[in-house]
């Protein structure tokens, strides 16, 4: 503890308090760099975990691939052709579905059984004739048992076509039924059918593309682990106050002409600097190592600074309730783990329905994650709400912690 000598220079006036605080911070930071604990908890562990989580879950949370569908048109009438031209071709153009024509139902079924295609839509032989005769008719969808969800999509495609035919059929039936429709000739019915098919569709669906404010899996795990361990990294500064007290060096510090506030400020600066430094290294590291995209650098810096302040405030407050550094470490670990879990650093808790999806925002980590997500879609201005929320945590917990720490810094 020889580093504290400069702070003890005679005549350290209040204006020198800031300098004293910085000197104390510098001494603590050097000690942390030397014992490597900050390096391990602040950088190596989060980096490693983000890497592992990303390996495990990258495939799970990614976007689903294009569906591959088989189609068998055994019908030689106009309905079979219309199905391909009006329904499948437009889907093919959008690129969400790849369609392969199969010569027979057996061939299609074997592809579905192997899982080569998610489903096969069959327009059976005689479909056109059955539809025109006005009797029941059906399309068949053979779902691959290994892809039940995409099979559902194939069913809705087939159903959509069947619905269009049913619409005309029902329209004709409502006109032809009852006394008005009695004795209509087949020719009249066909003309009514043509008019029904040409009628304005009552409801259309238009696509609006929304932006995504979700982080991709790489960035999610990088950000999640970084902010989770931020709450461990900042412990070092505040807890060292307790260490100094048990080692007896706090008494010597206080006996020197340094204001008590400067000692506290020095410890808080240490925490903040460690937090910001580890976060910045993690942002750069995860971007370079596994291509995490954090968004606008200025926005990220604002969020990191605000998150670090809130972490310092909360961890300092927790430490004030402990009698020893070990006790403080235990309590801080519990708080950091609970807040990290609730704040959605391991999995996106804000997506949970009901109360939990709202409860997540009592954790500053949730605001940090939301800020990064919003930053992905919006301009820089979107970070102010999460940043202010984070600062709110910092101010409230920091103020209470300062009041309690002053008492703690009495030997």
């Amino acid at each position: 503890m020889t580093e504290q000598q400069p702070a003890g220079r005679p005549g350290a006036r209040p204006s020198g308090s800031a300098r004293a605080a910085l000197l104390i911070a510098e001494k603590d930071l050097k000690a942390r760099v030397r014992d490597r604990s900050a390096l391990i908890f602040g950088i190596l562990v989060p980096l490693g975990l983000a890497f592992i989580f990303n390996l495990i879950f990258a495939g799970v949370s990614g976007n689903s691939k294009a569906i591959s569908l088989g189609v068998v048109v055994a019908d030689h009438g106009q309905m079979g052709q219309a199905f391909t031209a009006q329904v499948l071709d437009p889907l093919r153009h959008i690129g969400i579905i790849s369609v392969r024509a199969e010569p027979s139902v057996a061939a299609g079924r074997s592809l579905a059984a192997k899982g080569t295609v998610s489903a096969v839509i069959v327009v059976p032989a005689g479909f056109t004739a059955a539809v025109e005769a006005g009797g029941p008719a059906s399309l068949t969808v053979i779902e691959s048992a290994s892809a039940p969800v995409t099979g559902e999509i194939a069913r809705s495609i087939a159903q959509g076509y069947a619905d269009a035919l049913n619409r005309v059929r029902l329209s004709v039936a409502t006109v032809a039924s009852g006394s008005a429709g009695a004795g209509l000739s087949p020719g009249q019915l066909r003309r009514i059918g043509a008019r029904a098919a040409a009628a304005t569709v009552p409801v259309a669906v238009s696509d609006i593309s929304a932006k995504t404010k979700q982080l991709d899996s790489k960035s999610f795990f990088a950000a999640g682990m970084a902010v989770f361990f931020l709450f461990f990294t900042v412990q070092f500064g505040v807890t060292s106050l307790l260490e100094e007290r048990s080692e007896g060096t706090l008494a010597r510090l206080l006996a020197s002409p340094i204001r008590r506030g400067a000692v506290l400020a020095g410890k808080l600066i240490t925490s903040f600097a460690l937090g910001v430094f580890s976060m910045v290294v993690l942002v750069i590291g995860t971007s370079l190592l596994f291509g995490a995209s954090w968004g606008s650098p200025l926005g990220v810096v604002v969020l990191i600074a605000a998150a670090s302040l809130s972490a310092v405030g909360i961890m300092a407050l927790v430490a004030t309730f402990a009698k020893s550094a070990e006790q403080a470490g235990n309590a801080q670990a519990i708080v950091a783990v609970v807040l990290g879990l609730l704040g959605g650093t391991f999995f996106p808790v804000s997506l949970a329905p009901g109360i939990l999806g709202k409860l997540t925002f009592i954790a500053p980590q949730a605001w940090f994650m939301r800020g990064l997500g919003d930053l992905r879609a919006g301009s820089l201005s979107v970070v102010w709400t999460p940043a202010l929320a984070l600062l709110g945590f910092a101010v409230v917990t920091g103020a209470v912690a300062m009041l309690r720490l002053r008492r703690l810094a009495e030997v």
């Binding site: 689903s64 294009a66 969400i96 074997s110 579905a112 096969v120 009797g135 029941p136 399309l139 068949t140 779902e143 691959s144 048992a145 039940p148 969800v149 559902e152 069913r155 809705s156 087939a158 159903q159 959509g160 069947a162 619905d163 035919l165 049913n166 619409r167 059929r169 029902l170 329209s171 039936a173 409502t174 006109v175 039924s177 008005a180 008019r195 009628a199 304005t200 569709v201 009552p202 409801v203 259309a204 669906v205 238009s206 696509d207 609006i208 929304a210 932006k211 995504t212 404010k213 979700q214 235990n330 670990a333 519990i334 609970v338 609730l342 999995f347 949970a352 329905p353 997500g373 879609a377």
Partner: protein, 190 residues
């Protein structure tokens, strides 16, 4: 005997630290609780629906969407709230039914229902299910309008009643499902 004493002492010392009690007993439960609440609802995609002015026809459309097996409908109060929930991922997609839905349909116009999704194939695939549900509704509405236009019914409402009565009687063009191959997981696993 010595072994037991050592074990008991160690256990007592472990339990004396509150942090150990937390990490051994409380934390696993908490993890299960949060994981369950976040992912426990299964994989049914959630569709947010905004009904600007709920009329009989708009309500019927919502009911139709809710009946689709691959959708779970949640009512949302405003378009902006729907947009932000879809963007943030708490809803998989959204549908906005415009204010004049009922009156425009009765007036013979085409009403455009807006479908909102994040970019990506998942949103487009969900859009198929939404379109299918909308088509089923459109079938009845088209028949009702057609009947009124062809003077087979005195008005839209009468036409709709007629169409609803007939829809069960008219032979339908249906979609039959067949399965091929073996499922990766037994269905009992859910």
């Amino acid at each position: 005997m010595k072994v037991l004493v050592i074990a008991a002492t160690t256990l007592r010392r472990m339990l004396r630290t509150r942090a150990n009690i937390f990490f051994v007993f409380v934390f696993p439960m908490l993890l299960i609780l949060v994981l369950g609440a976040t992912f426990g609802r299964g994989a049914t995609p959630r569709l947010g629906v905004v009904v600007s002015r709920p009329g009989a026809l708009a309500t019927a459309l919502v009911r139709q969407l809710d009946h689709a097996p691959s959708l779970k409908v949640t009512l949302v109060s405003s378009d902006s709230s729907l947009l932000s929930q879809v963007e943030r991922g708490s809803l998989d997609a959204g549908v906005e039914i415009p204010a004049g839905y009922d009156s425009a349909i009765e007036a013979g116009k085409t009403v455009t229902v807006r479908y909102l999704a994040r970019p990506g194939t998942a949103g487009q695939q969900l859009g198929q299910a939404v379109r299918s549900a909308v088509d089923s509704q459109a079938e009845l509405l088209a028949a009702a309008r057609f009947a009124a236009a062809e003077r087979a019914a005195p008005g839209f409402a009468a036409g709709l009643t007629k169409a609803k009565n007939l829809v069960r009687l008219v032979p339908v063009i249906s979609v039959r499902l067949r399965a091929a191959g073996k499922a990766l997981f037994p269905s009992s696993l859910g």
